[in-house]
């Protein structure tokens, strides 16, 4: 399966500029509301103003109602349909399938960032904070910590220099509580 993102490969300088140059998230707070296409998820969005690029950019936070999994994404539809930078708090480990990386180092567990290499191939990585297991766990369990980390990593912030805060508009449960699947409620034969 060829997972190369050709849009990013062909406009890599633009992609690099998107990531490295400062960006301002326009909404101070992002309210999570039920996702239309998937009832088990909440989603919230803000527009982003880029210092040097005028194209439309969006900042999206999605959170599962079932467990504490959430994701943060930056999109620029005029570059490519997929998010150009992503954070996954949970879910499967990504394989950095490059021959120069020893096999045992090819697995990048969550939480991790997802970006692209110059040839358009997706790559997952952990920054110094995520490499620390204890800190990684705290971040994986709190969407506001994750959003702050994501913003620092992607050179994104509010005009005040702070980071946007995520608010659940209609909380069905204590928002910061870690949600876990209760296996006792599932019938296994």
């Amino acid at each position: 399966m060829n997972r190369t993102n050709k849009d990013i490969r062909d406009q890599f300088d633009f992609f690099r500029e998107l990531i490295t140059v400062d960006k301002i998230v326009l909404s101070k707070t992002i309210h999570l509301e039920p996702k239309k296409s998937n009832a088990k998820w909440l989603t919230g969005q803000s527009s982003v103003q880029h210092e040097t690029i005028n194209e439309e950019i969006s900042f999206t936070v999605e959170r599962s109602k079932r467990d504490s999994k959430y994701g943060v994404k930056l999109r620029c539809p005029s570059l490519t349909g997929e998010p150009f930078f992503r954070f996954d708090s949970d879910g499967p480990a990504h394989r950095n399938d490059f021959p120069e990386i020893p096999l045992e180092e090819q697995s990048v567990t969550t939480p991790h960032f997802n970006s692209y290499k110059e040839d358009g191939k997706p790559i997952a990585y952990k920054n110094e904070t995520l490499k620390n297991e204890k800190e990684a766990q705290i971040i994986a369990e709190d969407v506001n910590f994750g959003v702050s980390l994501f913003c620092m990593e992607s050179n994104t912030k509010l005009s005040t220099g702070d980071f946007p805060s995520i608010i659940d508009k209609a909380p069905e449960f204590a928002f910061t509580a870690v949600q876990n699947i209760n296996f006792d409620n599932i019938s296994f034969e």
């Binding site: 088990k40 599962s64 045992e104 567990t109 006792d184 034969e189």
Partner: protein, 270 residues
Amino acid sequence: MNNQEIIDRIKSSFCNLTNFKVRNNALEVITAYSTINSKFVSVFITFTKNKIVVTDSGWIDQNYYDTPLYYDSEFIINRVTNSFQSSFNVKSTVDKEGVNFYYKTCDNIEQIPSAVFDLANFIVGVVNAFCIQYKDEKEEKERETFRRDANDYLKANYTDKVKLRSALDDFQSIKFNAIINKSSKLYLLTYVTGSTQTYFENDLRKSIVNFEIAVKSKYTDLIKERLTIVNDTSDGYLPDKSAFIFELLREKTTREPVKWTEKERLLELI
């Protein structure tokens, strides 16, 4: 070359690739098995109601493996899933929110590695099945474009006299691309196109069979012409290679196949 060094390297690499996450409700095994969309498969071991359960924790059903969504592939994915389920003896259950969990149970700790191995193999197979695009997109697109162009051409020239994707009353299951009813005479038309020789010849064979059946219809005396429009701009149009099938087609049609680049000929025939 030192065999032992290679053996040790492979063994330790494979072994070190397996990771673990201790969760509140389960032990997650991040296995050494990866999918074609570059995800390592995780399985979850939990002890519930006096049973050891190894499960995917609903990750397949919730698309945590981030597989693309291709329409019309549900049937084949269900077949693949069912085959793998029976091969690896994997069971499934649905929680109260409707999420499907695939799982295996173990009687004792000794059985866990084998269950993890089976379930991981199962997940790899199913996730990979989701990643594949079964339909030939180029073919579908070309076929659709040609069909639309030919339909438009007929509608422009024969307006309400043309019926698209139509059948003779006594053979409802045999559809022609178009039937033109002009001055109480019927003109049956089929289209032949294809991005490869195989696809093209499949269309030829379909036309042959359809015309073969048409002459057995009670309306056969009303049928003035049996015509085929061939897309001579498609990559599958290789008249020399498909000569034999073209010959068979000529036996069933009333005229030489009408090439799309010479479509004006139709106006002389109808």
